[in-house]
Symmetry: C2
Subunit: 92 residues, 2 copies
Protein backbone atom coordinates (compact mmCIF):
# COMPACT_ATOMS: atom_id res chain seq x y z
CA UNK A 1 0.00 0.00 0.00
CA UNK A 2 1.18 3.51 -0.74
CA UNK A 3 2.27 5.35 2.39
CA UNK A 4 0.83 8.57 1.02
CA UNK A 5 -2.66 7.34 1.87
CA UNK A 6 -1.94 7.23 5.58
CA UNK A 7 -3.62 9.44 8.16
CA UNK A 8 -1.63 9.75 11.37
CA UNK A 9 -3.83 10.32 14.40
CA UNK A 10 -2.66 12.84 16.97
CA UNK A 11 -4.41 14.94 19.58
CA UNK A 12 -6.67 17.06 17.37
CA UNK A 13 -10.45 16.63 17.31
CA UNK A 14 -11.77 13.49 15.62
CA UNK A 15 -13.43 15.49 12.82
CA UNK A 16 -10.08 16.82 11.58
CA UNK A 17 -8.91 13.28 10.83
CA UNK A 18 -12.31 12.25 9.46
CA UNK A 19 -12.03 15.08 6.96
CA UNK A 20 -8.51 14.01 6.03
CA UNK A 21 -9.77 10.49 5.27
CA UNK A 22 -12.73 11.72 3.24
CA UNK A 23 -10.47 14.04 1.25
CA UNK A 24 -8.17 11.12 0.38
CA UNK A 25 -11.09 8.94 -0.73
CA UNK A 26 -12.56 11.80 -2.78
CA UNK A 27 -9.15 12.25 -4.37
CA UNK A 28 -9.40 8.73 -5.73
CA UNK A 29 -7.74 6.65 -3.03
CA UNK A 30 -8.97 3.05 -2.86
CA UNK A 31 -7.42 2.50 0.55
CA UNK A 32 -6.72 4.78 3.46
CA UNK A 33 -4.66 3.68 6.43
CA UNK A 34 -5.37 5.23 9.84
CA UNK A 35 -2.38 4.96 12.15
CA UNK A 36 -2.16 5.78 15.83
CA UNK A 37 -0.20 4.94 18.91
CA UNK A 38 -0.60 5.17 22.65
CA UNK A 39 -3.42 7.38 23.83
CA UNK A 40 -4.55 8.20 20.30
CA UNK A 41 -5.61 4.60 19.60
CA UNK A 42 -9.17 5.16 20.79
CA UNK A 43 -9.42 8.21 18.56
CA UNK A 44 -8.29 6.15 15.54
CA UNK A 45 -11.23 3.79 16.10
CA UNK A 46 -13.57 6.79 16.41
CA UNK A 47 -12.27 8.18 13.10
CA UNK A 48 -12.77 4.88 11.27
CA UNK A 49 -16.29 4.49 12.67
CA UNK A 50 -17.39 8.04 11.83
CA UNK A 51 -16.01 7.84 8.26
CA UNK A 52 -17.73 4.52 7.68
CA UNK A 53 -21.06 5.15 9.39
CA UNK A 54 -21.72 8.83 8.83
CA UNK A 55 -19.99 9.82 5.62
CA UNK A 56 -18.94 6.97 3.33
CA UNK A 57 -21.18 3.91 3.81
CA UNK A 58 -19.44 2.12 0.92
CA UNK A 59 -16.16 2.12 2.85
CA UNK A 60 -15.30 -1.11 4.67
CA UNK A 61 -12.70 -2.00 7.25
CA UNK A 62 -10.22 -4.11 5.31
CA UNK A 63 -7.71 -4.90 8.00
CA UNK A 64 -6.78 -3.93 11.53
CA UNK A 65 -3.32 -4.57 12.88
CA UNK A 66 -1.83 -3.96 16.31
CA UNK A 67 1.78 -3.76 17.32
CA UNK A 68 4.33 -2.30 19.67
CA UNK A 69 6.86 0.47 19.04
CA UNK A 70 9.89 1.01 21.20
CA UNK A 71 10.27 4.66 22.09
CA UNK A 72 13.58 6.21 23.09
CA UNK A 73 13.60 7.46 26.65
CA UNK A 74 13.56 11.23 26.95
CA UNK A 75 16.17 11.32 29.68
CA UNK A 76 19.62 9.94 29.11
CA UNK A 77 20.32 6.65 30.81
CA UNK A 78 16.71 5.58 31.30
CA UNK A 79 15.17 2.58 29.57
CA UNK A 80 13.25 2.85 26.30
CA UNK A 81 9.52 2.32 26.80
CA UNK A 82 7.01 0.39 24.73
CA UNK A 83 3.96 1.96 23.19
CA UNK A 84 1.10 0.12 21.50
CA UNK A 85 0.21 0.96 17.92
CA UNK A 86 -2.78 0.36 15.70
CA UNK A 87 -3.30 0.56 11.95
CA UNK A 88 -6.82 0.47 10.55
CA UNK A 89 -7.01 0.07 6.77
CA UNK A 90 -10.22 1.34 5.17
CA UNK A 91 -11.13 0.27 1.67
CA UNK A 92 -13.80 1.55 -0.67
CA UNK B 1 -17.20 -18.32 20.46
CA UNK B 2 -18.13 -18.84 24.06
CA UNK B 3 -18.80 -15.55 25.85
CA UNK B 4 -17.19 -16.96 28.98
CA UNK B 5 -13.77 -16.40 27.44
CA UNK B 6 -14.21 -12.65 27.24
CA UNK B 7 -12.16 -10.15 29.21
CA UNK B 8 -13.87 -6.77 29.53
CA UNK B 9 -11.41 -3.91 29.80
CA UNK B 10 -12.19 -1.15 32.30
CA UNK B 11 -10.08 1.38 34.14
CA UNK B 12 -7.85 -0.92 36.18
CA UNK B 13 -4.12 -1.30 35.47
CA UNK B 14 -3.19 -3.20 32.31
CA UNK B 15 -1.60 -6.04 34.30
CA UNK B 16 -4.92 -6.97 35.92
CA UNK B 17 -6.41 -7.74 32.52
CA UNK B 18 -3.21 -9.42 31.29
CA UNK B 19 -3.46 -11.78 34.26
CA UNK B 20 -7.12 -12.49 33.47
CA UNK B 21 -6.20 -13.47 29.90
CA UNK B 22 -3.30 -15.67 31.01
CA UNK B 23 -5.53 -17.39 33.57
CA UNK B 24 -8.10 -18.18 30.87
CA UNK B 25 -5.45 -19.60 28.54
CA UNK B 26 -3.92 -21.65 31.34
CA UNK B 27 -7.41 -22.95 32.12
CA UNK B 28 -7.53 -24.47 28.65
CA UNK B 29 -9.15 -21.72 26.59
CA UNK B 30 -8.19 -21.79 22.91
CA UNK B 31 -9.51 -18.28 22.32
CA UNK B 32 -9.81 -15.23 24.53
CA UNK B 33 -11.71 -12.16 23.47
CA UNK B 34 -10.62 -8.76 24.80
CA UNK B 35 -13.43 -6.23 24.68
CA UNK B 36 -13.34 -2.52 25.35
CA UNK B 37 -15.10 0.67 24.50
CA UNK B 38 -14.42 4.38 24.56
CA UNK B 39 -11.36 5.41 26.50
CA UNK B 40 -10.44 1.84 27.38
CA UNK B 41 -9.72 0.92 23.75
CA UNK B 42 -6.05 1.84 23.97
CA UNK B 43 -5.73 -0.28 27.09
CA UNK B 44 -7.23 -3.28 25.25
CA UNK B 45 -4.44 -3.04 22.67
CA UNK B 46 -1.86 -2.80 25.47
CA UNK B 47 -3.30 -5.95 27.09
CA UNK B 48 -3.18 -7.92 23.84
CA UNK B 49 0.38 -6.82 23.13
CA UNK B 50 1.68 -7.61 26.62
CA UNK B 51 0.03 -11.07 26.66
CA UNK B 52 1.43 -11.90 23.26
CA UNK B 53 4.92 -10.43 23.58
CA UNK B 54 5.83 -10.89 27.22
CA UNK B 55 3.96 -13.95 28.47
CA UNK B 56 2.51 -16.26 25.81
CA UNK B 57 4.52 -16.05 22.57
CA UNK B 58 2.44 -18.86 21.05
CA UNK B 59 -0.67 -16.67 21.21
CA UNK B 60 -1.65 -14.92 17.97
CA UNK B 61 -4.11 -12.17 17.17
CA UNK B 62 -6.88 -14.00 15.35
CA UNK B 63 -9.23 -11.14 14.62
CA UNK B 64 -9.81 -7.51 15.51
CA UNK B 65 -13.20 -5.93 15.07
CA UNK B 66 -14.37 -2.38 15.65
CA UNK B 67 -17.88 -1.07 16.06
CA UNK B 68 -20.13 1.52 17.62
CA UNK B 69 -22.48 1.20 20.60
CA UNK B 70 -25.28 3.60 21.26
CA UNK B 71 -25.30 4.66 24.87
CA UNK B 72 -28.40 5.97 26.62
CA UNK B 73 -28.04 9.57 27.70
CA UNK B 74 -27.69 10.01 31.44
CA UNK B 75 -30.09 12.92 31.61
CA UNK B 76 -33.66 12.55 30.50
CA UNK B 77 -34.50 14.18 27.21
CA UNK B 78 -30.95 14.36 25.85
CA UNK B 79 -29.79 12.39 22.82
CA UNK B 80 -28.09 9.02 23.10
CA UNK B 81 -24.40 9.19 22.27
CA UNK B 82 -22.20 6.86 20.26
CA UNK B 83 -19.16 5.14 21.67
CA UNK B 84 -16.58 3.17 19.69
CA UNK B 85 -15.90 -0.43 20.62
CA UNK B 86 -13.13 -2.90 19.91
CA UNK B 87 -12.88 -6.66 20.23
CA UNK B 88 -9.50 -8.35 19.93
CA UNK B 89 -9.63 -12.14 19.68
CA UNK B 90 -6.46 -13.92 20.77
CA UNK B 91 -5.90 -17.52 19.78
CA UNK B 92 -3.37 -20.02 20.97
Amino acid sequence: MSESNAVLIGKKPVMNYVLACITLFHGGAKEVSIKARGRSIGRAVDVAEVVRRKFLPDVKVKKIGIGTDQVEAREEGSQPTNVSTVEITLER
